[in-house]
Structures are given as C-alpha cells and as structure tokens.
C-alpha cells in the first residue's frame, strides 16, 4: 500500500466566500442588536420623510437626469478597455515591441472615441 501524502491546497476563493458570509452576518447582526436594545417611540413627525419640514409634494420616484445614464454607459465602455490593457500589461515582456505598437493602435482608437464623446458634450455637466 502506498502512502503518498498529497497536500490539497485550499481553493483560493474559499476564504473570500467565507469572509463575504462573515461580513453579511456581522452587518445584519450589528444592525439587529439595536433592534433589541434601543427604545421604540414613533411619532407622527418622525414617520414623515425628512425633507426639511416642508409638506411633501411627491415621492422620490421620479425621473432624473439622463446624464447619469450616459455616465454609466461611458463607464462600462472605458472600463472594459481598461481590462484589455491589463491583459497586455501582464504579457508586456513576452509581447515586446509588437505589444507596444498594438496597444498604441488600441489607445489611438480609444482616443478617437473619447474625443467624439467629448465633442458631443456627453461629459459636460454645467
């Protein structure tokens, strides 16, 4: 019978999962503690929306500026480009000058898109 010992390395993502669960438990637990410890004294004014005491005319569920959508879309575009650059930067030594030229073309294309966005005024907030 062979006795060879294999040390199984832990799945490196397991501690992350554990700490996510721990964080969830801590967050809910701590906010739950004051549920038991704190007083309960609701009154009419406390139950109103805190908007500086003026009578409430509408709920907060209303349309908001398109700018926020635009920002989100631009973020997704540019953030994905960033991820592509990470791939190149890890293989920097391996790709050599070829990689530099390629990333130059990539950045130039990105810059054209960026200038277009800038000229169209998508980044103007005033």
């Amino acid at each position: 019978m062979e006795h060879s010992v294999h040390y199984i390395g832990m799945n490196p993502y397991l501690p992350i999962l554990l700490i996510l669960i721990f964080g969830l438990a801590l967050g809910l637990g701590v906010s739950g503690v004051s549920l038991f410890l704190g007083p309960k004294k609701p009154n009419q004014h406390k139950l109103e929306v805190y908007e500086c005491g003026l009578p409430i005319t509408s709920t907060a569920e209303r349309r908001f500026s398109i700018k926020f959508y635009l920002t989100a879309i631009l973020f997704i575009l540019f953030d994905i480009e960033t991820i592509f650059m990470y791939l190149w930067s890890v293989a920097f030594d391996y790709l050599g000058w070829f990689g530099i030229v390629e990333i130059g073309i990539f950045v130039a294309t990105l810059a054209i898109g960026y200038i277009y966005v800038l000229k169209r005024g998508a980044l103007r907030w005033d």
């Binding site: 040390y7 832990m10 501690p15 992350i16 996510l20 967050g27 953030d79 530099i100």
Partner: protein, 369 residues
C-alpha cells in the same frame, strides 16, 4: 493518502482574522483621530475627556462611548422606504470593506511545520485586481441606500455618489497599469520584494519613482472612490442634508462608515504596497536582514522575527498616508459637482492614457533595447 493541510487552513483563518480585526478597528479609531485633527486645525481641543475609569488617555475612550451610544439608539425603519433594500444597503459596504482585507500582504512568508505559509490570506494569480473587483461592489451600497430611502435628497446623493465612483474608477484602473508592466506582475508580494532593491544607488526602488504620474492620479482617485473630502459630494451637508445617509440612523448609519473606513485602509495598504514598498524598510530589505540574522538565529526563526517588523513598517506607512487623508479633509474645500466630473473625465482620464503610453515606451526602451 489524501490529507488537507491543517497548517494552511489555520494560518489562512488567522490571517483573515487579523485583516478583519484591523479593518473593523479602523473606523472607531479614525473617527477619534479625525475629530482631534479637525479640532487642532481649527484651534479647538476636540474629544479629549472620555477615558477608561480615571485614565483620560487623550480621549481615546470616545469611540467606545460612541459605539455604545449607537447600540442603544432607536432602530428606526421609516414607513415609506423600500424595506428589504433599505436594510441590505448598509451591509453591502461592510461586506466589501471586510472582504478586501483578505488581500493585504502582511509579509513575505514564514515556515510552520516544514510548510511555507504565505502571509497573504488570499493569494490569487489575479493579484490586486481582487481588491478592485470587490471595492467596485461598494457602489451598490450607496446606490441602493439612495434609491431605497425614497427621499429626494437621498436619491440625489446616491446618484451623485454612484456616478462619481464609477467615473473615477476608469482613471483609477488605468493609472495602475504602468506598475503592472514595470514590475511584470499583478502579485503584490512580488511587487514589494522588487521594491526593496535600491535605485540609482541611493533611492529605494519604490514604484513612486518609477511612475510618479500614476501615483498622483491614483491618490486623487482613491479620495473619490472612498467618498472623502474634497470629493464627498454624496453627502454634501450644505445642499443635500446628508445625501444617501439622510434616512439612516443608529447602527445602520455607522455601518456605512465601518465599510468606508475599512475600504480606505485597504486602499492605503494598496497604495503603500505599490508605491512605497509595502512591508519593506527602505534601504534595508528583508532579504538583507535575513542574510544578516540567519547565521545567529536560523532561517525559520529570523522569518518569525521579521513578521512583526514587517507588519509594523506596513502599518506605519499606512498610518502616515491616512493621516494625510485626514489633513486633506480639513484643509481643502469641496468641489462643485460639474468640476468633479470634469476633473475625472476631462483631466484624469486623458492624463492616465498618455501616462500609460509614455511609460510603456520608456519601459520598453529600458527592457528590450
């Protein structure tokens, strides 16, 4: 025979606990530090009275008193909010803020039971990208808090915060790329050991000297990412009451700060690891100390001696950086929102792109000429 390495499991759990302990303690201690520093800048005294029994210890009892006060406050859920999201929103920053602490590199490695124990709880081949991935999830907490509160101020604060955080994330991600190809790795520990060398014979080989522009961009973006002044548009008291925090109180309110300060701490650790040589003492690398001390103490023991030294050096550097955060908070006024977005998109992003290309060309000349 298959055996799960108990040493590895225990050491990973201990390292995780160390991260959680430090990450969760940052918020109370920093709340005291910030109030004292603010007071000193404004020529006041600040909280200096609360101590333990008769020992005043500069008012360090204040965070404990605050925590107890917060625990005994009314846990109030307003009737008009979206309950599930309202309750979950403060938990999100806590989860992400604590989760990023697993990626802190506390030192190189020690040897226990003939096994090498890496002093980073989670060592992935994607390296510090884990911190970025988890830290960007924090934006959900802010957005959910703003939307679920069903309050116009909260909604505006939440929208502003989320737009701000995603905007600066682009520049942040791009500013770090030069360091990846300069060091040729994503692994923080490898980066740190490379930074223990000496540059030009007199400078420590810090990332700061290799990519100064990256450092400036990264520093600005971590201020924006952690929603701190001068970028705390999300909770600008003058216009939005308290932004997305308006409808929150008691412990839920403080959970946001727990997560935020933990995140700020990890971001400082990341900055220190990438630009200031992490746990390495400048000019005196751990390699050098290992060679010096090994003949007397043996290698295994020397590594154990180096462990607390490394952690001490790391924390010292991080504390200095966090003190800088506090200093900035009380000396620089808040930006206007359009100025903030303009700084992120119109200045930082193109600068980061140009910096990337220029650094790439210079590095290529040095590496493959």
């Amino acid at each position: 025979m298959v055996e799960l390495s108990l040493t590895q499991i225990i050491s990973t759990i201990l390292l995780m606990l160390l991260g959680i302990a430090v990450g969760a303690q940052v918020a109370p201690i920093m709340s005291w530090v910030e109030r004292r520093q603010c007071a000193i800048i404004q020529r006041r005294l600040g909280p200096n009275r609360v101590g333990i029994f008769n020992f005043r210890i500069f008012g360090l009892g204040q965070p404990i008193a605050d925590a107890i006060k917060l625990l005994f406050k009314e846990d109030f859920v307003p009737p008009y909010v979206h309950k599930a999201f309202y309750v979950m929103a403060p938990v999100v920053p806590v989860i992400t803020g604590l989760a990023v602490t697993v990626a802190i590199p506390w030192g190189s490695h020690v040897v226990v039971n003939n096994q090498i124990v890496n002093l980073q709880a989670v060592n992935l081949n994607s390296g510090f990208l884990l911190i970025f991935a988890l830290s960007s999830l924090a934006v959900y907490g802010v957005t959910l808090a703003g939307w679920s509160s069903n309050n116009k101020y909260s909604l505006l604060g939440g929208l502003r915060a989320s737009a701000q955080m995603v905007s600066y994330e682009v520049a942040m991600g791009m500013s770090i790329i030069p360091l990846v190809f300069i060091w040729g790795t994503l692994d923080l520990q490898v980066m740190i050991s490379r930074q223990s060398e000496i540059l030009f014979g007199f400078l420590p080989n810090w990332g700061l000297f290799h990519a100064p522009v990256s450092f400036i961009i990264f520093l600005v973006t971590i201020f924006a990412e952690t929603n701190r002044l001068p970028f705390d548009l999300a909770e600008s008291e003058g216009e939005l009451v308290a932004g997305f925090l308006t409808e929150y109180g008691a412990m839920r309110w403080s959970l946001f700060f727990l997560g935020e300060y933990s995140m700020m701490f990890v971001m400082c650790v990341l900055t220190v690891s990438m630009f200031f040589g992490g746990y390495e003492i400048p000019w005196i690398s751990q390699h050098l100390l290992l060679d010096l001390l090994s003949p007397t103490f043996g290698e295994a023991l020397t590594r154990w001696i180096l462990l607390p030294i490394g952690i001490g050096v790391l924390l010292l550097k991080v504390v200095l950086l966090m003190w800088f955060f506090v200093q900035v908070r009380f000396t620089i006024p808040r930006f206007r929102y359009d100025q903030l977005m303009k700084l992120g998109w119109v200045y930082l992003l193109p600068i980061a792109l140009v910096n990337l290309v220029v650094t790439a060309i210079i590095t290529a000349f040095i590496k493959f000429h």
